[in-house]
């Protein structure tokens, strides 16, 4: 028994030591990019491109660590202390919350061009091949026999864009009548059978589990789903109007100052605005800001009338409290006795 105890102890110790050894060769510098769900593929390619560029320019090896999840969850991790050098999230409000916690400057959005959003996107519909329910615009989503898949706007950044796009459409349609717009989104959400917490969860539900007739999705997510899972299964439908989604990026001041990584973090985010970065964004179906790159990929991105959150809803902070706060418009949709 003693022998056995000893060998067990040795085994455990051995395992502990083996695991304690660093997984990868030590890099000169590391960055942690805390991002949201649909950017996984983009940042795999972009991180490679940036590492090469940084190596060529400074001789330093940079390793970028990634964390992905729902935008709100990711911002929560940063607030609670995950040491993210940069955040690349789904909407400005989530970064505002990080700034409010004191981890970065409150005016972060002015630090980079285009509201600190190096690429944009919009919300489109993904439908089953041949569009059996004949869904062509937002108005079709409230038909009684249409099942709509969207994530939960209270936890998913993408879902908030979905919600606001639908609301904005209804507002236009009703000539600015708030009650009518509210009624429209209420009817729309009554057609939602599953409310996942993140954009990826919804895509899985729609694509893999075969639930629903239409998925409200980021444009890039919809294209990716079609690309990954076969163009013979899904069609993309572009509505008459949609929202201009600006996923912003920022540096977490507290972290880069402590770790001394500001220069490389700055270079990392700026690389997103460079022609290479913009090219990669476009290839992953994010709409580039650079005119030249946008021209080159013009056939990739369908023309659609886009409105911004500032012109329709007076910015994120207003929209957040009004629509997604406690007791806000979204909560009222799910209030009992609706």
């Amino acid at each position: 028994m003693t022998l056995r105890t000893r060998s067990l102890a040795a085994l455990l110790l051995g395992a502990a030591l083996a695991c304690g050894a660093p997984a990868a060769a030590r890099a000169d510098v590391t960055l942690l990019n805390v991002s949201y769900d649909p950017t996984r593929e983009l940042y795999v390619a972009f991180n490679r491109s940036f590492a090469e560029k940084w190596k060529a320019e400074t001789g330093e090896t940079v390793t970028i660590r990634q964390s992905h999840g729902g935008s709100g969850k990711q911002a929560r991790s940063v607030i609670d202390g995950i040491d993210a050098d940069v955040v690349t999230l789904a909407l400005a409000y989530d970064i505002d919350e990080i700034a409010a916690s004191g981890r970065m400057a409150k005016d972060w959005q002015a630090a980079r061009p285009h509201n600190s959003a190096p690429y944009t996107s919009t919300i489109v519909f993904l439908v089953r091949k041949g569009n059996p329910k004949r869904i062509t615009d937002w108005g079709d989503l409230v038909k009684p026999d249409v099942r709509v898949i969207t994530p939960n706007p209270r936890t998913s950044g993408g879902a908030r864009w979905n919600f606001l796009a639908a609301y904005g459409y209804a507002l236009d349609k009703a000539g600015g009548d708030e009650a009518a717009a509210r009624d429209f989104v209420t009817r729309l959400f009554r057609n939602v059978p599953v409310l996942d917490t993140g954009a990826r969860g919804s895509t899985i539900t729609f694509v893999q589990r075969g639930i629903g007739d239409v998925l409200l999705a980021w444009e890039n997510e919809a294209f990716l789903a079609v690309e990954e899972l076969g163009p013979d299964k899904f069609d993309i439908v572009v509505p008459s109007v949609s929202i201009l989604a600006e996923p912003p990026v920022a540096i977490v001041d507290q972290v880069v100052d402590k770790r001394g990584t500001r220069p490389v973090a700055e270079a990392y985010l700026n690389h997103l605005y460079s022609p290479e970065g913009q090219e990669l964004a476009a290839r992953h179906y994010y709409r580039p800001r650079l005119e030249a790159v946008a021209q080159r990929h013009a056939d990739r991105f369908p023309k659609v009338t886009l409105f911004t959150i500032d012109e329709k809803f007076g910015g994120w902070t207003n929209a957040q409290t009004r629509f997604f706060g406690d007791g806000g418009v979204f909560d009222q949709i799910y209030a009992p006795g609706r």
């Binding site: 028994m1 003693t2 455990l12 395992a15 502990a16 083996a18 695991c19 304690g20 997984a23 990868a24 942690l32 769900d37 996984r40 660590r65 990634q66 964390s67 992905h68 999840g69 991790s77 607030i79 609670d80 202390g81 995950i82 040491d83 916690s101 981890r103 993140g198 990826r200 969860g201 895509t203 899985i204 694509v207 893999q208 789903a225 990954e228 899972l229 402590k258």
Partner: protein, 293 residues
């Protein structure tokens, strides 16, 4: 208990037969039980392996040897290698004082040890965020001294220890209570030291129960999802345990890889069950009579 004594006489004719159910009833009951178990246990298990192997053996092995998967496996092993021994030491200490001594507050202590069993795993993670998060009780101090607990390995280990806390203790307490303390008392009276008594008298009596508890503790430690998910931060290749890696792969449309890693965990579960069954068959009388978890 009122039983109608003058009811039909068939029973009196063949009392032995009446102690069992008619053949049809027996078959139906066996069918119901097996059907239920097949539906809820066997089919899900089969699905895991069939989905994992859907892309062929080569794809299966490739998804398991990819760097992020290896990092997740390493982290899971490390977490279990820390959490299980700690809970083992705790379990022995707790069982020693609860099963060998009478003291005020013993039942309260026993109840508190059981508490992590009934606390939702999400809450187990949340409490550590409240304690060690940047805005938690100890957060600012940890930040100032550059100590990382949550979103790093220590937080994952802590959350795992919390959820697997009672396993060894729960196994040992009833076992040691049943065995009584006469032999240990005799050893002490005959002049053995406390440590000698424990090693020579107690340990041989409880070793199989101990192993049994460790087995269950280990299975849960390697498979915990909810608690770890709250404190992990999901940094690829760094703070993802195997169950979290399964979720990430699942969210990347990579079903085959997700189920491949899941199948590894399922394999671990099966090995645990086999080891457990062997222990139960061979050492049934040395394990506590009332086994529950």
């Amino acid at each position: 208990m009122a039983i109608d004594a003058f009811a039909p006489d068939t029973a009196a004719a063949a009392p032995r037969v009446a102690l069992s159910e008619p053949r049809v009833v027996r078959l139906v009951l066996i069918a119901v039980a097996l059907g239920f178990l097949v539906l809820f246990l066997v089919v899900p298990l089969v699905v895991v392996f069939s989905e994992a192997l859907a892309g062929g053996v080569a794809t299966y092995l490739a998804s398991l040897t990819e760097p992020d998967a290896l990092a997740a496996i390493r982290l899971t092993l490390l977490t279990a290698a820390i959490a299980v021994p700690l809970n083992l030491v705790f379990g022995v200490a707790a069982a020693w004082c609860i099963a060998r001594f009478e003291f005020v507050g013993k039942s309260v202590l026993t109840t508190l040890i059981d508490l992590p069993f009934s606390v939702s795993p999400v809450i187990s993670g949340l409490v550590y965020v409240l304690l060690f998060g940047l805005h938690g009780w100890l957060g600012p101090w940890l930040q100032a001294h550059d100590v990382k607990i949550i979103f790093a390995v220590p937080g994952i280990v802590l959350a795992t220890i919390f959820v697997t806390f009672p396993f060894v203790a729960r196994e040992l307490i009833p076992l040691m209570q049943e065995q009584g303390s006469e032999e240990e008392e005799a050893a002490i009276v005959l002049g053995a030291s406390g440590w000698q008594t424990f090693r020579r008298v107690t340990l041989p009596k409880i070793k199989w129960g101990l192993l049994y508890g460790v087995l269950l503790c280990n299975a849960r430690a390697m498979g915990e999802f909810g608690a770890v998910s709250v404190v992990s931060g999901h940094i690829r290749g760094e703070t993802n345990t195997m169950p979290l890696h399964v979720e990430i792969l699942y969210n990347e449309y990579n079903m085959v890889a997700a189920f491949a890693v899941a199948s590894l965990l399922a394999l671990l579960a099966l090995v645990t069950l086999v080891a457990k069954a062997l222990l139960e068959w061979r050492y049934a009388d040395e394990l506590a009579a009332t086994r529950r978890h």
